[in-house]
């Protein structure tokens, strides 16, 4: 069953969400999500690399010998990461500084490898780029959710504006490393609970009217 072009994008956000569903790319999703702006910046940077590398790898998929495809993927992805890093250093130096070591580390992000291996190596250029866009948007959204929760609870602010009122006492724990682990754990658990509920409902429906 062939997916439509729109589904190619939306699947990366919903059923194949890289962070919450496939549990890929956890290092940056915990490390840079102390504020929403950092999370969004990371997401956009990774999306750029995803679209470019997926498109490029799909373009040359016919001439890559299958045995050495992983080193070739690594080089192509690292090249785009270097390009992105140089652009970032020039246009958004503050963000580049805030993300720090995690900008070059996009080169070893599992999401990008997973999309290259699962999708770009087998599909056309257009579809691969859309798949990259979808996975990138899913990653950005996940980071934004994590970062938003952590910034609101840990700092009482969102994008630097106070949103929780004067009397709010920030829970400092949430912007510390431990808070990242907790929030991620509870979000994944909540999604799993939702899945289990939906499954139980389905089986009840099936049992009542076969």
């Amino acid at each position: 069953m062939q997916r439509t072009l729109v589904q190619e994008v939306t699947k990366g956000i919903t059923i194949e969400n890289p962070v919450f569903r496939l549990l890929l790319g956890l290092c940056p999703s915990l490390a840079v999500t102390t504020s929403l702006i950092n999370g969004l910046g990371m997401g956009v940077a990774a999306t750029f690399v995803l679209i470019c590398s997926n498109g490029m790898l799909s373009l040359i998929r016919g001439i890559i010998p299958p045995k050495i495809r992983i080193p070739i993927y690594i080089i192509v992805i690292a090249t785009f990461v270097s390009i992105m890093e140089m652009m970032m250093e020039v246009y958004t130096p503050a963000l580049h500084k805030a993300l720090g070591i995690f900008v070059p580390l996009i080169a070893v992000n599992c999401i990008i490898f997973a999309r290259a291996e699962i999708f770009a190596g087998k599909n056309g250029v257009g579809r691969s780029m859309l798949d990259g866009l979808g996975a990138g948007l899913g990653f950005t959204l996940s980071l934004a959710i994590l970062a938003g929760i952590r910034e609101i609870l840990g700092d009482g602010k969102l994008l630097g504006y106070p949103v929780m009122g004067q009397s709010y006492e920030p829970i400092l724990l949430m912007i510390l490393p431990a808070g990242g682990f907790f929030i991620l754990g509870f979000l994944v658990a909540a999604l799993k609970l939702y899945d289990l509920r939906a499954e139980a409902k389905k089986s009840v429906l099936l049992a009542s009217n076969p």
């Binding site: 956890l26 431990a178 609970l193």
Partner: protein, 216 residues
């Protein structure tokens, strides 16, 4: 002076700014390879070894090929000076690490096949482990926590590699021990697997925050 700096690097990398719990590097093996203590030890040792070797080799590559101040490429350009190749940092480091991992994979397959089978998919995945590329990048960017803002020296780099790996090994073993115990506990269905591992990791990170009192 030198010894004191090395000691500080070790304390920071193992305890205060642990690679897994405080810098969030290498979370994939932390969650994926911590089911059994035996495989955790194997994985931790393999990563420590690769981190130490990668620190040494990437430092040499960066210093003598990429950095124009110390590069030996200048000898071959007939007095035009060495080109600034630092923009190739990410690509060259990742290639060096991929080759190293391939080498270790071949070595283990031949000499220690039991460990090779136990590590499975996580062995080739080490080439894309953030902790290894992370330590290589941190080595050339300096260790700001203890006030070194320039590139580390060779000895300091290797020390950071070994200490970072040791911290990783420590966390992996602790986590595997906790998870072996957790198999006997009743956990809500939705919290099983990764969620409970995340919460455990969070509690461990809280505990490790206590070590920040060691900073000097």
């Amino acid at each position: 002076m030198e010894i004191k700096v090395l000691f500080m690097i070790i304390i920071y990398s193992v305890l205060i700014q642990n690679f897994v719990l405080s810098r969030f590097l290498g979370l994939c093996p932390f969650f994926g390879c911590s089911q059994r203590i035996s495989s955790a030890i194997g994985m931790g040792c393999a990563i420590t070894f690769v981190m130490a070797l990668a620190s040494a080799i990437t430092w040499i590559v960066y210093t003598y090929l990429l950095d124009p101040a110390t590069s030996i490429v200048g000898f071959f350009t007939e007095g035009n000076g060495a080109p600034d190749l630092r923009f190739l940092r990410t690509i060259s480091f990742i290639l060096v690490i991929a080759v190293l991992v391939q080498f270790i994979e071949m070595f283990l397959q031949k000499k220690v096949p039991s460990l090779y089978r136990a590590l499975g998919i996580f062995l080739p995945l080490m080439a894309t482990n953030c902790a290894i590329l992370g330590v290589a990048v941190l080595n050339v960017e300096g260790f700001t926590a203890i006030g070194i803002h320039t590139k580390l020296t060779f000895i300091q780099s290797v020390t950071q590699g070994v200490a970072g790996g040791a911290g990783f090994l420590l966390i992996l073993i602790l986590m595997a021990g906790l998870r072996e115990k957790m198999e006997l506990v009743t956990i809500p269905e939705s919290m099983k697997g990764v969620p409970i591992a995340c919460v455990t990791g969070g509690l461990m990170a809280l505990a490790f925050m206590g070590f920040s009192g060691l900073s000097f």
